[in-house]
Point group: C2
Chain length 392, copies 2
Amino acid sequence: MLDLHPMATRGFTTAEFAQRTEAAQKIMVRQGLDAMLLTTEPEVRYFTGFDTIFWLSPTRPWFVVIPAKGAPIAVIPEIGGPSMSLTWITDIRTWLAPQPEDDGISLLTETLRELMPGGGILGLPMGHETHVRMPAADLAKLQAGLEGVALADATEVVRSLRMVKSEAEIAKIARMCSIASAAFEDLPSYIKAGDSERQAFAKFKVDLLQKGADDVPYLVGSSGPGGFENVINRPSDRVIAEGDMLLLDTGALFDGYSCDFDRNFAFGHASDAAKSAYDLAWLATEAGLQAARPGLTTTELWAAMAQVLEEGGCSGHQIGRMGHGLGMQVTEWPSLMPGDDTVIQAGMVLTLEPGLAFGGGKMMLHEENIVIREDGAELLTRRAARELPIIT
Amino acid sequence: MLDLHPMATRGFTTAEFAQRTEAAQKIMVRQGLDAMLLTTEPEVRYFTGFDTIFWLSPTRPWFVVIPAKGAPIAVIPEIGGPSMSLTWITDIRTWLAPQPEDDGISLLTETLRELMPGGGILGLPMGHETHVRMPAADLAKLQAGLEGVALADATEVVRSLRMVKSEAEIAKIARMCSIASAAFEDLPSYIKAGDSERQAFAKFKVDLLQKGADDVPYLVGSSGPGGFENVINRPSDRVIAEGDMLLLDTGALFDGYSCDFDRNFAFGHASDAAKSAYDLAWLATEAGLQAARPGLTTTELWAAMAQVLEEGGCSGHQIGRMGHGLGMQVTEWPSLMPGDDTVIQAGMVLTLEPGLAFGGGKMMLHEENIVIREDGAELLTRRAARELPIIT
């Protein structure tokens, strides 16, 4: 098969993991952190390369500790030992989980005590877009066992690192965006009025897999006569009819990195209201593409798109922002919204996602994925059609 | 297409959600809880029916409060309002998220204060297999705003309810097990030596979707000459060769309910060691099937399988248990393991998952899914072949 998608190798070099760790340690030193505890999938994968879908099981906690100096330490259930030993991590400490009465807590306590024998400050991401993936009672137990160790919020350490992607990360996202662009372009050949939403979504998912996506964890959308009111739905048994609008929005994965964009389609014909809404969202996206560059803030990039919508007589939507970071997760820091004020840097991968309400509660959303380069935005998705595609 | 899979309607009746809520409230009263706060996807879906893949985005927290009396209250980002309003929930309170400085916390505080004006005890699942899906700093903020309200662990409320499935839940799991059984039975017709693991897994995933799975979030496995050493891997580019063993283990979804079972295959030929290991795991599963019944404990059910393995000269594996609950998640409470001691009840859906090491570090795992009936185990999966299937 001719492969038209950008090259991307699988995995990362050990050098890249070492660089990520050192970059984290620099910030940790600035913030006075003696160690950092990570409990969530993207953070563990970012620093170790440990990539398993086993996180879907809520049974076992997984811990990675970043010391102030040296390589990360994995404190994980024994079932993950063989997989973790394939990564660059050499200090792997395991316990036979599940073990509700002590599910790794004494092993983790011991590890942290070893790093901070006289006490110290332990960083833990506790801020926006984070959570602690372990039983709250176990976190309390851990704190009780770490006398002399204070917890401090380490959100900024992971946030600032993960927001700016390496070329290897960008290549994976670019490849995924290319695969999904091709699937969206081919969609009119295999989705027809008369399909149920469920059938249409399944066909699209299968096409994504056959075109090279590893997985399609995120696929939402909606259909309805002349438009739709709801944009985060799973598909229903509703049958798509002539005169309907259809939105599909996918976060599919290549080697653990996601795209996140949508496309709109009309069936048979479209109202002038829908065509105008499409046009306005397209132009707002275009304004975002032109404006995005290093040095601008996320709030300013939001404003560039919002201005087009306002001038077009619309006032946005209830999604609360017009784009966000993209990478290992389908949404990441930062948010394109008033008050976010993150300074955009080269290497950030962002979605541009302006949307508006029209025709009495209907929604129109556009979305493209870009990487910020020194001289502005580089599109990773193939641009949405200039005019609303009509499937006949 | 002739549909050979068990019937299962989509969704649940309002009566079922009301029953779940009332059952929770009975336990809450016994435990002295004035309200319960839920933050995780399965818990929110269990009590409301709110079903969206939007949880994959870490950006926004979602809250459901179960009062001591009356229907649940949803405190959620505005983007989820239209979807939540399609459920039985009528008290839906929204804020425009993301809003890092106050991401629903004041709205949630107000809601809880309204329910507990003079203070009280707020249940929050904090025990094994739970986590709190909101920023830890926001949980601290919530607690600070709730003077006079003490937190108490509510794990047992959701654990005891979710462990015992309704007939409607069982029907969904049964349908998913039937679809995956059919996909496993057809697998030898479309997976061949010469496929890479990645190609083989993709074909299986596509077949699951085409046979009626809504989604295949969980698919792990491994291949290797004469066996494999690692059972939670994503597929690699390794090419499957004659003489290899292949394990696939899937948690695919029908209407939000999962199967979780695996099948083993050999290519071309299999060693006597592999055949013996397969036989022993099959017999251990059989012992589990015969033993499982209401009144037995999970520890005793584990022992019934462990005894067969021991008598066969093997001592289990590093997975730490030999099965678990199954339902909305690919693994749920309880665990079949020493010390779990949960009394098995009719309506529990369990996996039987005995495994063993053989041939120097290789693994053999079998898995079936059952529902406990008054008179014993009812298979939901179609039983694994009596002898190791060899794909030629």
